[in-house]
């Protein structure tokens, strides 16, 4: 794994933030936690403008306190400078209708309940 590679974790649940942070640290993955949807959108806009400091993978939860994860996915995929960033939806919300109606697709959909944090860290390492 390249040392310059980085991921964003967009997650609001403090327990999940703690769990995933611990697992990523143990796996030596460079990560940044973003807890609010608006904060994530702002961050992506800055990256798109400057076209630098791009993360390799963004893990995004679907249900956030302010806006939903799909809005963030759209922001990433509809921008020329950020659309090549791989987005993995990491959520416990799995209503198939909700996912099917969206035209913008994420690279992966991971159900939180189906993957243990150490397995997730392994998967990320493999994908980076």
């Amino acid at each position: 794994m390249d040392k310059n590679k980085k991921i964003f974790l967009i997650e609001d649940d403090p327990n999940m933030v703690e769990i995933y942070s611990e697992a990523f640290k143990a796996a030596s993955i460079d990560f940044e936690v973003i807890r609010l949807g608006r904060e994530a959108i702002k961050k992506i806009k800055t990256i798109a403008e400057n076209n630098k400091d791009k993360p390799n993978i963004i893990l995004v939860d679907l249900i956030l306190p302010d806006i939903n994860g799909i809005e963030i996915l759209k922001e990433i995929k509809n921008n020329e400078n950020t659309k090549d960033i791989r987005v993995f939806i990491l959520s416990n919300y799995s209503d198939p209708d909700f996912l099917k109606t969206e035209k913008v697709k994420a690279e992966k959909f991971i159900l939180k309940a189906d993957i243990k944090p150490t397995q997730l860290a392994e998967l990320i390492k493999k994908e980076l």
Partner: protein
Amino acid sequence: MEIEKKFQKEQIGQPEYVNKNCWLAKTLGYPPSKRCQYCESNFRNCLFSNYLIISLVLILFLITLSFLVEGKISNLLVISIFILIIVYGYFFNKSTEKIIEANFSQRKAKEALEKLTEKLESQVEKRTEELKKANGELKNLDKSKNQFLLATQHHLRTPLTSIMGYVDLLLGGSYGEQNKKTREIIGKLRMLTDDLIKIVNEFLDITQFQLGKEVVILKPGVQLEPILEEMIGQLKLEADSKGIYLKFNKPKNICTVKADPVKLKVALYNIIDNAVKYTLKGGVVINIIKDDVVKIIVKDTGIGIASENTKSLFGKTFERGETARKTFVTGRGIGLYISGEIIKAHNGKIWAESEGEDKGSTFFIELPLEK
């Protein structure tokens, strides 16, 4: 004769109607052969015509006789013709009466029938409306129930995922080393949490199937071999500990299908897991046959299925077979239902065959070949 009985019961007319009334007999569906027996008016009409012909022949005979014997029309002949006219008149009158009576009965019966039909139609309409209303209410209730379940399950998953995460980190050593007993307990916690998550996922799947949601998202190019190998890996330990074999005969050619890999895994896992669970001696063999479809065959030497149950295996939830209940194996009775629904959503077929209890079972899963 049922119609006749019905008429008597409804009191709109007696079978006599049928006896006198050709139209009614026909309307009620009596076959022509039977109709003659019932249709008296018709019979009388025929009889009248016959009398007329016989009488005319008789008059002609009497005139000829009179001329031959007396050379003129005798008084006896006049009296005979007079008597005959009276007889015709009587029969004609009788017959007309019958016809009028029959027509009247026919009209009456028709009116009664129309009334009854109207009454029946309005009753049917009323009942249909009531049923529609009740059905609508039931559907709404069912939808609310399912939506409640869906929401509950999502809310259950969140804390469960956190528990699973912390347990995983504890076992991974992220929070320091534990003593042997603590590790053993954490191991048990992990098993229980995994089981609980599996239950919640299964309930969620059932609810989504019942809500008519498309649970599977089909992707092209899904290879069956690695999925089955992964499954064998997961279940090998259990099979070994029971002393039974678990074999997978790999196909010569690679089999790819259009599938939802996660859901297909769930469907196949349920089948193979059941085969291992309910086989106490012998073992389980998995084969893949590829021709115009891909067929996955899971054959075991287990407890078998009573022939009358093989067809209803995939349609019921929370029900387990008689033989399965007799074993010491625990089961929720939802695995096969979920497998069935998943395979159906893949445009595939699933069925089971068994020669009976204690004679093993074979499960067939057929998936369309990717074009």
